[in-house]
């Protein structure tokens, strides 16, 4: 693309638009060819397909009519009417002949269809001959013969004609359809071609536009922006210099040179601004206005610098001649020298006064500083003492608080103890009641044991008697001999029962004795418990009273401890405030000491300054 970039801008534009025009030409040519094709195709469609088809239809219709009228002639007897019908038949025949001409002309290019059509023509000719025969038969009143002719020969021919005509018509319609399909395909192809070429043209157009923009507009924009930045004083502009041979290349080269010159000048100005007056400037030519002006400016400034140097060395006797009335710097220098001489005189007087005052201030400040140091020491000691007192107060506050809390706890414990004692009194009372119940139950048990003893005595007696009975029974059984044997067994059983009863009663008696003893012991124990419980009730009541009194004392103690705690807290707060105040005083004192020292230092400095000033002022040469 390098060659294209190097072309002149005029030629670039011409080439781009030329390609677009060429594409347009191709489109137009293709479109006109396509349209001509279409027109031709339409014409052929009409001439070769539709016309024969219509004519064939017409032919069939006319043939139908001829046949119908022949039949009518056969039917009617009216001579006039028959003649009218015959005239009409003749007219139809002429129409049919015209149609034949058109169809045969259009079928010239289709030999197969033409052959079929010629068959129709010959059939029609045959039909006509027979028809004329029929007409003559009708006129000679032989309608029956005419009718028979129609039914046989004519009908067959008629049908044959209709068949062939239908076939031809179908063929024509089919051909027409084929042609339309062809035309559609052609139209589609043309449309696709147009779309393709348009797309190509669009792509090329967009490409050309982008490319031209990149080659011409972009560098122009770059240069414009650079010019804008230079106009706003920014000389740090760098334009990339591609090796272009066209107008844009020339423009950029010139621009770069301009920027370089301006940068050189700016560098010189910067050095001058930085105080370097030894800079040398070479004007490019006599026409270099900027360069010449710079040379003159540095000369003037060098002169002024020499004057300033003399003044700075203390020589106020130097003379300056301004270049003109508008020479601000020159005039200012003259005025400055005059002012400097006057001020030097005044300063000399003032410095003398200042030096003497500074000496006095120094003496006073030294005294104050000594006093402040002593104060600070005292304040520090006092602060330490206050801090100790505060710690003591804190300790006593804590102690009194803990005493108060303990007293409150003790009061709570005392209240609980009181409640417990009350419950205990109730509990012991219940124990007493229960013990009485136990004692009663035991007495009852003893009595019942006695009752059991009586019962046991009865049972013993019964057992003895049973024993005797058993023996008697045995004796009787023995007397009865063999018959009494069974009875002997019964007697033995009864005896054994009696023995068992006796043994059981003896056991019961023993157990009853034990029970009796145990209950006796229990009654004794219950009595002892009852007495102990009574003692317990009394003691519990007494201890309840003691605890109640104790609780009251503790409550009072708790209140007192609470008051002490509150007082201690207040005392502690007061001590804290005092400590804080002392701390503040200490800080202030320290600051005072520091301030005094600084003041002393300042007085020293001031004194030295006064001496130094005296020296400095004496160095200036006024006359």
């Amino acid at each position: 693309m390098k060659w294209f970039v190097n072309l002149a801008t005029r030629i670039k534009l011409f080439l781009s638009f030329g390609v677009m025009l060429l594409l347009l030409l191709v489109v137009i040519t293709t479109a006109s060819t396509g349209l001509t094709d279409f027109r031709q195709s339409q014409e052929e469609l009409f001439r070769n397909d539709f016309l024969p088809a219509i004519e064939l239809l017409q032919l069939r219709s006319n043939q139908n009519r001829v046949r119908a009228q022949i039949l009518q002639m056969i039917m009617t007897k009216d001579r006039a009417k028959q003649q009218a019908l015959e005239r009409d038949i003749r007219e139809r025949t002429k129409d049919i002949d015209d149609g034949f001409k058109i169809v045969s002309a259009s079928l010239q290019n289709h030999p197969k269809e033409l052959k079929q059509f010629e068959e129709i023509v010959s059939l029609v000719a045959d039909y006509r001959k027979t028809r004329d025969q029929q007409i003559s038969l009708i006129y000679t009143d032989k309608a029956g013969d005419a009718e028979s002719l129609d039914a046989t020969v004519q009908s067959e021919r008629f049908n044959r004609i209709r068949e062939i005509a239908e076939k031809l018509g179908d063929t024509a319609v089919a051909q027409a359809k084929m042609r339309i399909t062809h035309a559609d395909a052609r139209a589609k192809f043309l449309f696709q071609t147009f779309v393709g070429i348009s797309f190509l043209a669009f792509i090329l157009g967009v490409g050309a536009a982008l490319f031209l923009s990149a080659v011409i507009a972009k560098p122009l924009k770059k240069v414009t922006m650079a010019a804008g930045r230079i106009a706003s004083g920014d000389l740090g502009v760098a334009i990339s210099e591609d090796d272009r041979k066209d107008e844009m290349g020339a423009l950029m080269k010139a621009f770069t040179e301009m920027v370089r010159y301006l940068q050189d000048m700016a560098a010189v100005s910067r050095q001058v601004a930085g105080g370097n007056l030894a800079v040398t400037i070479q004007p490019v030519s006599d026409k270099d206005v900027l360069g010449n002006a710079f040379v003159e400016m540095t000369g003037y400034l060098n002169e002024m610098a020499a004057v300033s140097k003399q003044v700075s060395e203390g020589d106020l006797t130097v003379r300056v001649t301004p270049a003109s009335d508008r020479d601000l710097l020159g005039n200012a220098f003259v005025n400055m020298l005059a002012s400097l001489r006057r001020i030097n005189q005044e300063v000399c007087d003032g410095v003398n006064v200042l030096a003497s005052s500074a000496s006095e201030i120094l003496a006073s400040t030294t005294q104050i500083a000594a006093g402040m140091s002593e104060t600070a020491t005292s304040v520090t000691e006092t602060t330490a003492t206050v801090e100790e007192i505060k710690q003591t107060a804190l300790l006593s506050s804590k102690k009194s608080r803990s005493v108060s809390e303990n007293a409150q706890k003790a009061a709570l414990v005392a209240v609980r103890g009181n409640a417990t004692v009350s419950e205990m009194v109730g509990g012991v009372g219940r124990i007493k009641g229960l013990m009485e119940t136990v004692a009663e139950s035991l007495v009852l048990l003893t009595e019942q044991t006695q009752a059991i003893g009586e019962i046991i005595a009865v049972v013993t007696d019964l057992a003895q008697q049973s024993n005797l009975l058993a023996v008697n029974a045995a004796i009787e059984a023995a007397k009865a001999g063999d018959h009494g044997k069974g009875f002997t067994v019964v007697a033995q059983e009864i005896k054994s029962l009696a023995d068992q009863s006796r043994q059981a009663t003896e056991q019961v008696r023993t157990i009853l004795g034990d029970i009796q003893k145990a209950t006796g012991r229990s009654v004794l124990a219950a009595e002892q418990v009852s007495r102990a419980v009574e003692d317990g009730v009394q003691q519990t009541t007494e201890s309840g009273d003691s605890i109640r009194e104790l609780a009251e004392s503790i409550g009072e103690a708790a209140q007192a401890a609470e008051q002490i705690a509150v007082s201690s807290q207040q005392q502690l707060t007061g001590m804290e405030q005092v400590a804080m105040a002392m701390e503040n005083i200490k800080q202030a004192t320290l600051q005072n000491v520091l301030g005094t020292r600084q003041a002393e230092q300042a007085a020293h400095t001031l004194n030295e300054l006064g001496q130094k000033l005296k020296e400095i002022v004496s160095r200036f040469k006024v006359a």
Binding site: Q464, Q465, N467, L468, A470, V471, N472, A474, I475, E476, A478, K479, T488, V489, A491, Q492, K495
Partner: protein, 199 residues
């Protein structure tokens, strides 16, 4: 009580158990019933064996001053509890008195005194054994009746040689179990026991 505290639950359980037992009454467990029945069966079987032995006496065994005596049962009319007796004045000391047994007035003999046995051991003397034969009928005192049992004749030894005097006359023999069998027939027939005094 080992840890100084009453186990009330244990006590309550025990009391409840006792109460339940009382409420139910005494009913032997199936095991006990079985054991008792077995024992009886064994006992019955044994007696049958004894019966099989040829000569035996059926005696009523009774206790008197801790000694065991027996009297053949066919001499005994019945045994009777001594409830009330009427002392009879003017009779030897071995006659205790008279008793009324279902309308019959019978004399009661204390055979301890009749046999001149030393008065050793405490006696209850609360039963009478009424003995009889065709002609004579009286009661003798006994502490307690032990029961009726069979004694094989072969098992019976001769009277102890130490026994002398009046006692020897009325002894029939002594069994291996140291039971003294009295000869009731002789007692009934003895003239000394019949008192015929006129005052």
């Amino acid at each position: 009580m080992s840890d100084g505290r009453l186990d009330w639950e244990e006590i309550q359980r025990r009391v409840e158990a006792a109460g339940r037992a009382i409420a139910c009454g005494y009913a032997p467990g199936p095991e006990e019933v079985r054991r008792t029945l077995k024992k009886r069966a064994a006992m019955l079987a044994c007696e049958k064996e004894e019966e099989a032995t040829a000569d035996s006496l059926e005696v009523v065994e009774f206790l008197l001053a801790r000694e065991r005596y027996g009297i053949e049962s066919h001499f005994i009319r019945e045994v009777y509890p001594l409830k009330d007796y009427t002392p009879l004045p003017g009779v030897p000391p071995f006659v205790l008195g008279l008793v009324n047994v279902r309308g019959r007035i019978l004399s009661v003999v204390d055979i301890k005194k009749f046999f001149d046995m030393p008065d050793q051991g405490i006696s209850d003397l609360n039963t009478i054994i009424l003995i009889k034969d065709g002609t004579m009928e009286f009661g003798i005192l006994a502490d307690a009746i032990a029961g009726v049992r069979k004694v094989a004749v072969s098992d019976m030894g001769p009277p102890l040689p130490t026994l002398t005097g009046i006692r020897r006359e009325f002894l029939k023999g002594v069994t291996g179990e140291r039971m003294v069998i009295l000869d009731a027939a002789r007692l009934l027939a003895d003239k000394n026991i019949v008192i015929h005094h006129e005052v």
